[in-house]
């Protein structure tokens, strides 16, 4: 507005329009332009805030691999009761380091038959008491047991997942092949979020438990041994903040 008045004073031809309707119209149009521009700026800042928070709008979806335990905006994840348009913001599993004990046991079990032949020579006992094809069948069966042991441990880890979507938290527990537990809570019901990182190993490898206190039927959600617990707490807190601001 000020610019228009100054320009009108500088140019005498424009003085005619000072009291006229034309200038009023121009001012109205000018104000309307400002009003139109303001929401655009607001939208832009809102967009960047969201991007900074958890990349909700900036969807660069990353694919999961066989040992993924922490992934923002995961690609190709489908879960039961997924609402249309519901986006998975964070995908979590227990940190891969928790698999080390069974991996070591698995390797020992794989290598064990290789040490049987030297052991039989040293301690002088005969391991080939059966015909060759029987031995081969037993060795094959043994390796099937080992493969099953490793596979069951792997899928127990693989299917125990935690999902954080834009509206809820989902916990899928899977253990001993017969225990399946799925629980979920809405973001709006979350009251408090905290995390524990107890022990040297957990601090070195940066994993721990995240405790989510809710007002729902499930009092406390525990995300056990997940990587980057501090980061996860920040993400959940920002989600709670957004929901409350809305």
């Amino acid at each position: 507005m000020a610019e228009i008045f100054i320009s009108a004073k500088k140019k005498p031809t424009l003085r005619k329009f000072l009291a006229g309707k034309l200038l009023r119209k121009e001012i109205v149009l000018f104000e309307a332009k400002i009003k139109k521009k303001r929401p655009q700026i607001a939208k832009k800042t809102e967009f960047t805030e969201r991007q900074l928070r958890f990349g909700a709008k900036k969807i660069i979806k990353e694919p999961l691999h066989f040992f993924s335990s922490f992934r923002k905006n995961p690609k190709d994840i489908i879960f039961l009761d997924q609402e249309p348009g519901e986006q998975v913001l964070l995908f979590l599993r227990k940190d891969f380091i928790v698999n080390i004990p069974w991996i070591i046991k698995g390797i020992i079990l794989i290598l064990l038959p290789l040490f049987m032949l030297p052991a039989s020579l040293i301690f002088k006992f005969n391991i080939f008491i059966l015909p060759v094809h029987y031995n081969l069948m037993y060795i094959l069966l043994y390796y099937l047991f080992v493969a099953t042991y490793n596979f069951v441990n792997y899928i127990t880890w693989y299917f125990s997942t935690y999902l954080i979507t834009d509206t809820k938290l989902i916990e899928v527990s899977f253990s001993d092949l017969i225990i399946k537990h799925v629980s979920e809570t809405k973001i709006t019901l979350i009251q408090d979020v905290s995390y524990d990182q107890l022990g040297v190993v957990r601090n070195i490898f940066d994993y721990g438990d995240v405790l989510v206190q809710t007002a729902g039927t499930v009092d406390i959600f525990t995300f056990k041994s997940i990587p980057q617990p501090e980061n996860v707490v920040h993400i959940i807190e920002s989600l709670i903040g957004r929901e409350r601001n809305v």
Partner: protein, 77 residues
């Protein structure tokens, strides 16, 4: 060959080893069948489209090998 079991006849030892093998293999088959069913049901709850098929296939392959081993033992003389 049968130094450790001198009191048993060769045929009895072979028969017993077959029986033990069948029991072990049958239990592994049942276990793997449960694993396969569980993998399929877990894929309904949560599914990573690219990896789920690989895991399910691996469970199926393990099951098939175990069943073929179960059948193969009856053809061994």
């Amino acid at each position: 060959m049968f130094n450790l079991l001198p009191i048993f006849d060769k045929n009895i030892v072979l028969f017993l080893s077959k029986v033990i093998f069948v029991i072990l293999d049958a239990s592994l088959t049942v276990y793997l069948f449960i694993v396969y069913k569980q993998v399929a049901s877990m894929n309904n709850i949560i599914e990573d489209v690219n990896i789920a098929i690989v895991i399910k296939s691996f469970a199926f392959i393990l099951l098939m090998i175990t069943i073929s081993l179960f059948l193969a033992i009856f053809f061994i003389p």
